[in-house]
């Protein structure tokens, strides 16, 4: 099978859905002529024209609202934010409008739109590095998708576009595996073993709400998303050499959450480590730990351990950034800790 990196897989998903459904449009900053800040929309303007690919001014609140209006009247917009950090300029439209309209209307309408946003710490300082998923998990009325591989990215994006609800689709910048225009080659993370993955050419859906077991094991369940899946897999591979079989699960969608798969794994291993790049306070790991404690307490042989970013704006200096973002060694240490707790 031919191999694609994340950018190519996302691009193919968009292209195929735009061919498949004339209602799908793309809107955002530099998505047309430039081809997207990370080249995800490359070539789409050329194929589909300016009525399907809308290059906008720097007006996040405005184009987010426009996408909502379009979604309410028969189109299926895919909105691109250049960085997830910029979502905060459009929070009213996302949180107060997109996520609430279905309920407020008493089910008269759905809001079928996808918001794509690159996130993750990559040496760009505090305003271009955040992991924002918890903000939107906290917003009932929308789904949150966060892929870790090109195969998952394509299938999840197709599902997201076909979904009737607002879906936030978060892409980790270190997983794109493509050159960043103006920025040289994107720095690859040492934990990411490869950028090219087998990706079927035909369109396929990965259902939202279905986790993937990235590595099977029986001693500890590690739940991780995006880049942290790769760091966890790297840690797990080394632990396996010492006879410790770690199960690594990527929920792939945080909302809805595949509680069944997580529950089955923890009932088997009796130990859980949650790894997430967002900050620990009121974050993904806190939410999952709360859910596990509330629902699987009797199965646990050790307290749940959270590995997450420190509660700080992300500093620019590489050494400081590294200190606040979970590293493979933090994951390994957490796994040893839950193994030693009885």
């Amino acid at each position: 099978m031919r191999q694609l990196n994340m950018v190519e897989a996302l691009n193919e998903a968009l292209r195929q859905e735009m061919r498949h459904d004339a209602r799908v449009i793309i809107i955002g900053e530099d998505v047309g002529v430039f081809g997207g800040a990370f080249h995800v929309t490359h070539g789409l303007l050329e194929e589909f024209g300016p009525e399907r690919v809308w290059d906008t001014p720097i007006s996040e609140e405005g184009f987010m609202g426009i996408a909502i209006g379009a979604a309410l009247t028969g189109l299926r917009p895919v909105v691109e934010f250049q960085y997830a950090d910029f979502l905060f300029s459009a929070m009213d439209q996302i949180i107060n409008q997109a996520a609430k309209i279905r309920l407020m209307s008493g089910g008269q309408t759905n809001v079928p739109l996808v918001i794509r946003a690159p996130q993750g710490a990559t040496g760009r300082g505090a305003q271009h590095s955040q992991s924002v998923e918890a903000w939107f998990m906290h917003t009932p009325g929308m789904k949150v998708v966060i892929p870790s591989t090109p195969y998952d990215a394509k299938g999840l994006l197709i599902s997201a576009i076909r979904d009737e609800n607002p879906v936030l689709f978060l892409e980790h910048k270190l997983l794109y595996g493509a050159a960043s225009p103006g920025g040289g080659a994107a720095p690859a993370d040492s934990s990411v073993s490869k950028v090219g993955y087998d990706v079927p050419e035909e369109p396929y859906e990965i259902p939202l709400g279905k986790a993937d077991i990235k590595r099977s094991g029986n001693r500890v369940t590690v739940i991780a998303t995006a880049l942290m899946v790769h760091r966890s897999l790297s840690a797990a591979a080394k632990l396996a050499q010492q006879g410790i079989e770690v199960e690594v699960i990527d929920p792939r969608t945080l909302v809805p959450l595949d509680e069944e798969t997580l529950s089955a794994s923890i009932r088997k291993t009796h130990r859980a480590v949650i790894v997430s790049e967002d900050v620990s306070r009121a974050g993904v790991s806190a939410e999952l730990a709360s859910w596990i404690s509330g629902n699987l307490f009797d199965y646990l042989d050790a307290p749940v351990k959270c590995v997450a970013a420190k509660n700080t704006p992300i500093p620019f200096a590489p050494a400081a950034e590294k200190a606040v973002i979970p590293q493979e060694s933090d994951i390994t240490q957490a796994i040893w800790q839950v193994l030693s707790d009885q």
């Binding site: 609202g65 909502i68 089910g107 008269q108 309408t109």
Partner: protein, 339 residues
């Protein structure tokens, strides 16, 4: 505060069809009486939530919507009853929504501030000030892409024009020549804040200059003037020439929200503006021009009163919303809140 004219200029109904004028009279009265009924209900019995009256502003909603086709879109605000009624949303369902009944426009999930009726192109009363403006532009973009020939109207107030959402939406709408009409309903107050205290340039229509679209100021208490201006703007939008900013000068006769005392403005100011009541002005013009009789107008007034009684009865007799009714309306199929 823009003072009302010293002498009330008569309404020019020349060239407008009698049926249209009578329909406008009926719609404005229906909007007025709906809110007056609500005011009474909130005073006399426990009603859920709150409500914001557009008393005195009915000519803006009715004048603009009269220039639209049934399939056209509007977005509205927290002060949205008149826009809904102008767009033909049934008053029975609206009243049931006020009573939090299952038969309400939004099955009791929206309430006064979030009314919508998608079957009639009423995309929503967006209760975050200014939020509906880009959404209307999105509906216009959709109409353009789908070649549906529809136009969209964003109703908003003199407060909302200071939001970034207006400026971002106005820029993109003009840039892309989208079929949208920005209707700024200048009722002089954003809660307690007068236009003078909140806008550096008080001629709000002049903001259109920055975006290269026409900015028109119109007497918002003259339904025929609003209608004629809207007609031009709609024609412009539908023919692909892009948006118009229509500033309708009117006045909020009631307080900001129910029982709000309006202590920040002199009572005489309110009384002076009451003399320009848009419903009375149209009534007078219809009689003076001998387009109708007192008897015919009285029959319209009776009909409105009867519809209000029916609406209240319909609401009272409808089933209450039950605690779990909201469940089908959350988007997520799997949800922590429900498992």
């Amino acid at each position: 505060m823009i003072s009302p004219p010293e002498t009330i200029p008569p309404i020019d109904i020349g060239g407008l069809h009698r049926d249209l004028l009578l329909e406008m009279y009926y719609r404005m009265l229906l909007a007025r009486e709906f809110e007056e009924k609500l005011y009474y209900l909130f005073l006399t019995r426990p009603m859920p939530g709150t409500m914001h009256q557009a008393t005195g502003q009915e000519a803006v909603a009715v004048g603009v919507v009269s220039a639209l086709q049934p399939g056209d879109y509007i977005t509205s605000t927290h002060r949205g009853h008149a826009h809904c009624i102008a767009k033909g949303v049934p008053v029975n369902e609206m009243m049931a929504e006020m009573f939090a009944k299952r038969t309400g426009s939004c099955h009791g999930m929206g309430g006064s501030m979030h009314l919508c009726d998608f079957s009639r192109g009423m995309l929503g009363a967006f209760a975050i000030v200014g939020a509906g403006i880009p959404i209307a532009v999105g509906a216009a973009l959709s109409a353009y892409v789908q070649r549906s020939g529809k136009v969209a109207v964003a109703f908003f107030g003199d407060g909302a024009i200071n939001k970034g959402a207006f400026h971002e939406a106005a820029n993109m709408a003009t840039l892309w020549k989208l079929p949208v009409i920005f209707v700024c309903e200048n009722n002089q107050y954003a809660l307690s804040m007068t236009v003078e205290r909140s806008s550096a340039v008080t001629n709000l229509a002049s903001r259109a200059v920055a975006y290269g679209m026409p900015g028109i100021q119109v007497d918002g208490n003259d339904v025929t003037a609003v209608y004629r201006s809207a007609l031009n703007a709609v024609e412009r939008a539908r023919s692909g020439q892009g948006p118009t900013l229509l500033e309708c000068i009117t006045y909020r006769i009631r307080g900001h929200a129910r029982f709000e005392s309006s202590h920040y403005r002199p009572a005489e100011e309110v009384e002076t503006w009451k003399k320009t009541d848009p419903i009375q002005r149209l009534r007078q013009a219809l009689i003076e021009n001998q387009l109708t009789s007192e008897a015919e107008l009285a029959s319209i007034e009776d009909r409105v009163e009867e519809e209000m009684e029916q609406a209240v009865a319909f609401a009272e007799q409808s089933e209450d919303v039950q605690p779990d009714d909201y469940l089908p309306y959350i988007t997520m199929e799997i949800n922590h809140a429900t498992t």
